[in-house]
């Protein structure tokens, strides 16, 4: 794809939930001081109503003021194809960083992402799609990106058929079973994201099969989360709480604080 609306797409930045990200040149109409922006293009085509519902959620997301959430620029619909644009961060994401990321920096990025989630939760919003690919690395700060809109674009969808199916591992199995997204289901995703970042492993033991969505789904539904036993006790405890019963999960803000505390304790001991 080379163009959408008046965006000239430069290159693909990868797949997001239910769509693809592109690096694009900023059109003159945008009152933004940047040469390049990131544009997310959703798969398939959408009706005007779907676009307006998505826009409403995006406006609410954009209204959350936090240094840990990407700035959104505009949302549009061109020949039925829905897109939205946002600031471009050159550091890549935690799933595909542009360069080497030392572990402490990666852990801090998860904490930054959690602060973005906490800001959303304070505004009464759920993110629905927290995973390493949606924590973007900027200059000294990481930002939460890619609000989950799949429930609007395709109600009931659990496998989007786009991007690696392994992103199922970040989704609370309750959601896969049809339960609504809540702040607690976001915290589940934060816990799994932290586990992945610290150990290189998901929480379902062997990795979910990358090329068989249904098998990945079945596996996620029947496997008890398993925390890497070699993780330091405080980290393991935090992750266990995140993937434990919803009532016992920390809030996103508490999660961020605990990651901070653990990192501090480790760097000073």
């Amino acid at each position: 794809m080379q163009r959408i609306a008046d965006y000239e797409l430069v290159k693909s930045l990868g797949y997001g939930s239910h769509g693809q990200f592109f690096l694009a040149r900023k059109p003159p109409r945008l009152p933004v001081d940047a040469e390049y922006v990131a544009v997310k293009v959703f798969a398939g085509t959408s009706t005007g109503d779907t676009f307006r519902r998505a826009t409403r959620e995006l406006k609410a997301f954009a209204a959350v003021t936090s240094p840990h959430i990407v700035t959104l620029y505009d949302a549009g619909r061109h020949d039925g194809v829905v897109y939205y644009s946002m600031e471009y961060l050159s550091g890549g994401s935690l799933a595909s960083p542009a360069g080497e990321v030392p572990l402490p920096v990666a852990a801090r990025a998860v904490r930054d992402g959690a602060l973005g989630v906490a800001a959303m939760h304070s505004a009464g919003l759920a993110h629905r799609a927290i995973k390493p690919a949606n924590i973007l690395l900027g200059d000294g700060v990481a930002k939460l990106s890619d609000l989950g809109l799949a429930h609007l674009m395709q109600p009931g969808v659990t496998l989007t058929g786009i991007g690696p199916v392994t992103s199922i591992e970040y989704i609370d199995p309750e959601l896969l079973q049809g339960a609504p997204a809540t702040q607690a289901t976001d915290v589940w995703s934060l816990g799994v994201t932290l586990h992945r970042v610290l150990t290189g492993q998901g929480i379902y033991g062997a990795d979910l099969p990358a090329d068989d969505g249904l098998l990945a789904l079945r596996n996620a539904l029947v496997t008890e989360p398993r925390i890497d036993p070699d993780l330091p006790a405080p980290v393991a405890g935090l992750i266990a709480a995140c993937v434990g019963p919803a009532a016992g999960r920390p809030t996103a803000a508490e999660f961020a604080q605990q990651v901070d505390d653990i990192q501090f304790a480790m760097s000073t001991s």
Binding site: S12, L94, A95, A98, G156, Q201, P232, M266
Partner: protein, 488 residues
């Protein structure tokens, strides 16, 4: 589609054990003490779902839990009629799809098993442990466990059971060299596993001629599928790379994030021996699997609307700013009569195995209770999109035109089809008790049901029909499959 079966199975003489149960096979060195992890997993899956995908997972788990490094391999037919193959240690699998070139699957000395899935209407699989004796084509393994160093297996959709045309060819096995042949370099050394450099994510995946894209139907899923190298980049290979990182980290004494040692905070004594990777590894290999994105290319000549998302921005969207709210979905979840498995999963009283965890329900008391109906499975569209079957759906190009969708009694499942072979309102999928019903909504091109057992048939308009898991329903050029979380 699930009429894929193992139609030939020839034991290859030599040291080791070979086992077959139905459409599941395994070979193992069988030298370790105690029960063999592969044979145990084979029995377990054969007794429950019989699904090749589940076998591969169960064997992988059993192998990873087993301290001995046992070499072995397994294969089986998956619920969707594909062939799942797993190798571990020095075992080798050689697979040919529809008479094509043989692809070798090796774990290449990795500590972790490697698995692949193959689709075709005739797949030959040779699972080989080591040196082979003289081949005897009179041998056959219909079930059970025998001494053998390998198996030559033919899986095909041909119910008649061909006189093992491919098996004969495939049963001239090359013994694996002492150094197991590494698969193609592209597989052994996945670029994707390298720390990612400046380009954050793979560029546009190269278009693949035979990969269906959005508008096109998947067609007959049993057709030969050329497996692009990218698909062969397995997660386990990636995991192996992680392991290497881990090992390297042992030497990285200066790692600032290294936890406290034994002298550190007593509260963290358990951290001894924890070696974090020196650097963070991306969670998913960025270039590992680039499904052709179902992006619709907008017509440059078409106009577009846009809404500013920056504070006090402008709104250039078309009129009707008041969007009707999403129709509220039926407030109360459906209640049904069912029984609990020992792990408290709520089930259809008529099933022999728990739909969710696969445990046998035979010993359970048959006392039923009323409970909230769990999702009955997944509706899998031919483009890989999956929808939770916790509500009714209306499928079509404009499903919102359906009255039940407008009233919130069914979810819209919008299917794009530029050629218009899919009706605007085409198919209703309804959950009735523990069963799934499909009904053609008077579409022009009709709907065809392909059952896993019992052939195919065209639906009469407005005549609901119960379908079982594994059933695929063709609607115009597109298709959708009903799959339960377990078998089928």
């Amino acid at each position: 589609m699930t009429d894929m079966k193992i139609t030939g199975c020839v034991p290859l003489p030599g040291q080791g054990l070979a086992a077959r149960k139905g459409d599941l096979v395994a070979v193992t060195e069988g030298t370790g003490p105690g029960p063999d992890p592969l044979l145990g997993a084979l029995d377990e899956i054969a007794a429950t779902t019989g699904d090749g995908g589940a076998l591969v997972l169960a064997v992988a788990r059993a192998l990873l839990a087993n301290p001995e490094q046992v070499s072995g391999a397994c294969a089986g037919i998956t619920a969707s009629g594909e062939v799942a193959v797993l190798v571990h240690g020095s075992a080798v699998a050689a697979v040919a799809v529809d008479g094509g070139q043989e692809i070798e699957v090796t774990a290449d000395g990795s500590m972790l098993p490697v698995h692949r899935t193959f689709a075709g209407s005739a797949v030959t699989i040779r699972l080989v442990l080591g040196a082979l004796g003289d081949l005897d084509e009179r041998l056959r393994l219909d079930g059970g466990i025998v001494h053998a160093a390998g198996l030559a297996v033919t899986a095909s959709t041909d119910q008649a059971g061909p006189p093992r045309p491919k098996a004969a060819k495939a049963a001239v096995p090359r013994p694996p060299s002492a150094q197991p042949v590494a698969a193609q370099p592209a597989i052994a050394e996945p670029v994707a596993a390298e720390p990612v450099a400046a380009e954050p994510v793979a560029a546009e995946p190269a278009p693949q001629a035979d990969e269906p894209d959005s508008g096109q139907p998947a067609g007959n899923p049993m057709q030969a599928v050329t497996i692009p190298p990218a698909v062969l980049l397995d997660q386990p290979v990636m995991a192996k790379e992680d392991k290497d990182k881990d090992n390297n980290a042992v030497d990285a004494k200066e790692e600032p994030y290294a936890p406290a040692g034994p002298d550190g905070d007593p509260g963290q004594a358990s951290t001894e021996g924890w070696h974090p990777p020196t650097e963070f590894m991306p969670a998913t290999p960025p270039a590992s699997r680039g499904p052709e994105p179902r992006l619709h290319e907008p017509d440059p000549a078409a106009d577009f609307e846009w809404v500013s998302l920056v504070p006090d921005g402008q709104d250039f969207s078309r009129d009707q700013p008041d969007v009707p709210p999403i129709p509220p979905e039926g407030a109360e979840p459906a209640m049904v009569e069912g029984i609990l498995c020992v792990r408290n999963h709520f089930n259809d009283p008529d099933v022999a195995y728990c739909r969710q965890c696969g445990i046998s329900m035979v010993q359970q008391t048959r006392t039923t209770q009323i409970g909230q109906r769990p999702p009955l499975g997944v509706l899998l569209l031919d483009d890989g999109t999956g929808f939770t079957l916790d509500r009714d759906y209306v499928l079509g190009r404009e499903p919102v035109l359906d009255g039940d969708v407008a009233a919130g009694r069914a979810r819209p499942l919008r299917i794009s089809d530029p050629d218009g072979t899919v009706g605007r309102v085409h198919l209703r999928v309804s959950l009735v008790g523990w069963q799934v019903e499909v009904k053609d909504l008077g579409s022009v091109n009709g709907s065809v049901v392909h059952r896993p057992v019992g052939g195919e048939g065209k639906l009469n308009p407005y005549d609901p029909v119960v379908v079982e898991p594994g059933t695929r329903i063709g609607i115009g050029q597109r298709s959708v499959q009903y799959l339960s979380y377990r078998a089928g």
